[in-house]
């Protein structure tokens, strides 16, 4: 399926519009699930919230943002439970995390020599998280180009799913770069963005907390724990910002 309005490498503005919200994506015919999502009032509200934020990033390039949006929307698709991963703010979350001290390699021992090792030895690359994701995205896009003839974010929904599964199972040939740890890091940061306190930019409107029934703050239960034994405790979740 092609569309002359579809964003591409020569048309970064169109690509940015794609990131802005569901309507552009639907017009572009790139996100079939978004059509279903638009029917959901909660999803539509979240998409509005997403649309009101400028698609500017602290560190991500447009291509990287498009990659993350496609990845987190596949991992966390829009459905009756929540809006899609990007509409939950997860790309914003990832951008801020990769721009943070953590993204720059804080709390990591980075002295050489470096050597490949068994997974039980843990992370052994010289790359910071920011660099690791940059390298991983380039390697993944090179691989999807070989297999599908285009970047990961241009793939149809079912192809994206297949591509992520190939990464997860270590079947994607990323050359010198190991697919499995890259997938694990990608899945982990997506889950962090989905479930962390909304102050970091993801979990917009506490959708993930509502989905599981996590009340957030203030988390003072000494007077409730006995009363709510085997009885569901339901409240509107509150976040750090609600107490600040």
């Amino acid at each position: 399926m092609t569309d002359k309005n579809a964003p591409d490498d020569n048309n970064p503005i169109a690509r940015r519009n794609f990131l802005l919200g569901a309507s552009t994506a639907v017009a572009a015919g790139l996100a079939p699930t978004a059509a279903a999502q638009a029917q959901q009032p909660a999803a539509a509200a979240a998409a509005d919230a997403a649309g009101s934020e400028p698609a500017t990033y602290l560190t991500l390039t447009q291509a990287e943002a498009a990659f993350f949006a496609a990845a987190v929307d596949t991992m966390i698709p829009a459905d009756e439970l929540t809006p899609s991963g990007s509409d939950c703010g997860i790309v914003t979350f990832i951008d801020r995390q990769l721009a943070s001290a953590w993204g720059g390699g804080a709390k990591m021992y980075r002295n050489g020599p470096f050597r490949k090792a068994k997974p039980e030895y843990g992370y052994q690359l010289p790359l910071t998280p920011r660099q690791f994701f940059a390298v991983g995205i380039v390697a993944t896009n090179a691989w999807t180009h070989k297999v599908y003839g285009k970047d990961f974010d241009r793939l149809a929904a079912n192809e994206r799913e297949d591509a992520l599964k190939a990464l997860e199972q270590g079947k994607a040939e990323l050359g010198d770069f190991d697919a499995k740890p890259f997938f694990e890091a990608l899945l982990h940061i997506a889950m962090e963005g989905f479930f962390a306190d909304p102050i970091y930019g993801g979990n917009r409107n506490k959708v993930a907390w509502k989905m599981v029934g996590f009340p957030g703050l203030p988390a003072v239960y000494s007077h409730l724990i006995e009363q709510y034994r085997n009885k569901r405790y339901v409240v509107e979740p509150q976040s750090i910002a609600d107490f600040s």
Binding site: M191, F195, N230, I240
Partner: protein, 591 residues
């Protein structure tokens, strides 16, 4: 050239639990004490305050309160034939890094070791014969008995306001408490925490099967408590943000709540944060230490702090590193089995368990604390007959809900994909309905598990990093398998809608997923200077004015978490320093 500071009576290297306790006991005895701490100073009111303290990402994943591996980490290999690589991020264990130490972010599970744990080797030899101990299992006795330590266990309980129920009060067994524990001179300072639904379900079934479940003893005070220092702890809020976070309710015991306010007000005590001790000044001929050298991490300037008495009160790795980097004691060699420093490094068996799903039960997993669980010790230590089993040691088995922080807590039934629509639906459906029986097991010392200095990698000060050579051995796998069968029996009897696969102990030790910050050994206690670093009073055999605190002195690791005995040993050693050493400085035990 280091700037020489004015001599003090005693210097503490590290201001966590043991540094704080020793500083308090020694200033009480009239000594001038300097407490040096590599990390920054914290105050609960500023640093553990609502709402910021309820932040899973910041504390559990960005590890706000954890040591920075860029400054110092350890290198790792599974066996001596391999070359080690640095742990570039901490994962399996998470040492603390500020005033208050790991007690800022611990969970608070508070144990005493079993009387037989204090006599591990002689107890086993007496019951099963010397042949029951495998050749490479280098277990030893502690150099003091449970009964000798009991008053100090008791003292530490009263410092922490521990919640729990006694199962053995002065020899009288009490149903509902831990009937396997050693005799206690007093009931717990505060009653057990309010139990959650899953804990009650586990206890009912365990009891029906003939076991002896009891509420987890915890340094999460169950109500406001004025401790032995006259300081007030709050009551636990069951917030579900305990481990890895600070406590805004002052209910979780730690130096900031239980000791430091008194110390800070004492003119005989000086706290110096951001002071990283790089080595001890050692006079080998005289068998004395003369002080410590530290770097002020704000300026990079080096200072020498002379002191009459040096207390090593860093984490396990800090203690070992300072001995090796100061040339104190002979490094252990696993081939010849000569040398002592770095010997008997042990860990704890964890990440064992089975998840149960109950369609018709609601657990509110976010309401809880590390103390809201029921435990049974029927298969712990030597509480059961090991005759013919082919292994030694055991596990405590437990179930409860400590937290439901959703980045980490997302139980889904077996076979569920890890992402996508199906994953979302399962996550939403089961979050409220899962409970996990977990096991924590003993880890008995093994000849080839040890610590020495790495030949390649250095810390930020340019010192060699410690190198950990460690793996699980046959005994560990057997302990885990045997105790898992018990857990599965209980799990089936609880009649869940479905069960996950048993999480077993297989393959090489993996340093990546969190297991426990219960590293032990390396500067162990003993009767013989050929096989230990410190004598029964935690006094170094190689320097009589050097005392070494903490779990680095444990000869091996029982199934229990180590903080209770760490505190008890600190009081025991402080008592020996004040009542014996200060009156007649010199070796307190003659080898």
């Amino acid at each position: 050239m280091a700037t020489r500071l004015k001599e003090v009576d005693a210097v503490m290297v590290g201001m966590g639990w043991t540094g704080s306790i020793l500083a308090r006991e020694l200033t009480k005895a009239g000594l001038t004490v300097v407490g040096l701490e590599r990390g920054e100073d914290l105050t609960p009111r500023e640093n553990f305050a609502l709402p910021a303290v309820r932040d899973e990402l910041r504390y559990s994943y960005r590890l706000e309160l954890i040591q920075d591996p860029a400054l110092e980490t350890v290198t790792f290999r599974h066996r001596p034939s391999e070359s080690a690589l640095p742990m570039r991020r901490f994962g399996s264990f998470l040492p603390g890094n500020s005033v208050g130490g790991a007690a800022n972010h611990w969970g608070g599970q508070h144990w005493r070791y079993l009387p037989s744990d204090h006599l591990t080797r002689s107890h086993i030899v007496e019951r099963y014969g010397a042949k029951a101990i495998p050749d490479d299992m280098t277990i030893q006795d502690w150099a003091m008995t449970y009964d000798e330590l009991e008053p100090h266990y008791d003292k530490f309980d009263k410092l922490c306001g521990v919640s729990g129920k006694a199962g053995n009060l002065r020899g009288q067994k009490i149903e509902g408490g831990n009937v396997f524990e050693g005799p206690r001179s007093n009931e717990y300072p505060t009653p057990p925490l309010i139990m959650c639904e899953s804990g009650l379900m586990f206890a009912k079934v365990a009891k029906e099967l003939g076991y002896h479940p009891f509420p987890q003893p915890a340094s999460n005070a169950s109500r406001a408590y004025t401790n032995s220092e006259g300081l007030t702890l709050g009551g636990c809020q069951y917030c579900g943000f305990c481990e890895r976070n600070g406590c805004e309710a002052n209910a979780k015991a730690g130096p900031h709540v239980c000791v430091l306010p008194v110390l800070r007000a004492d003119p005989k005590f000086t706290l110096r944060a951001r002071a990283w001790v790089s080595r001890l000044s050692y006079d080998k001929a005289a068998k004395k230490v003369t002080g410590v050298v530290f770097t002020d991490t704000r300026t990079g300037e080096e200072y020498e702090q002379p002191a009459g008495l040096v207390v090593l009160s860093a984490y396990v790795f800090g203690n070992i590193s300072l001995l090796l980097n100061s040339g104190i004691g002979e490094p252990y060699d696993p081939v010849t089995q000569k040398g002592v420093v770095g010997r008997n490094y042990c860990y704890q068996l964890s990440r064992l368990g089975v998840t149960l799903f109950f369609e018709d039960k609601v657990f509110n997993p976010f309401m809880g604390s590390p103390g809201t669980q029921m435990v049974m010790d029927d298969f712990d230590g030597d509480n059961f007959d090991h005759g013919g089993l082919g292994f030694l040691g055991g596990c405590k088995i437990q179930l409860g809900h400590a937290d439901g922080r959703p980045i980490s807590y997302r139980p889904v039934p077996p076979g569920t994909p890890r992402w996508g629509s199906t994953w979302k639906k399962a996550t939403a459906k089961w979050y409220q309905h899962a409970a996990r029986i977990t096991l924590s097991g003993s880890n008995y010392a093994s000849r080839y598990n040890y610590i020495d200095l790495d030949p390649t990698y250095k810390d930020q000060l340019g010192r060699p990093l410690l190198r950990m050579t460690y793996n699980f051995v046959e005994n560990d796998y057997k302990v885990a398998d045997y105790c898992m069968e018990v857990a599965l029996k209980i799990a089936r009897a609880m009649n869940p809608t479905m069960m996950g696969p048993p999480g077993l102990r297989r393959g090489d030790y993996n340093t990546v997923p969190y297991q426990s910050t219960h590293n032990t050994g390396g500067t162990i206690i003993g009767h013989d200077p050929k096989t230990s670093v410190v004598n029964r009073y935690l006094q170094a055999w190689d320097a009589d004015n050097l005392f070494i605190m903490g779990a680095s002195t444990f000869p091996q690791q029982p199934a229990y978490n180590p903080t209770g005995p760490v505190g008890a040993l600190a009081y025991w050693s402080a008592d020996a320093i004040v009542t014996k050493y200060l009156k007649s400085p010199g070796p307190l035990v003659h080898a």
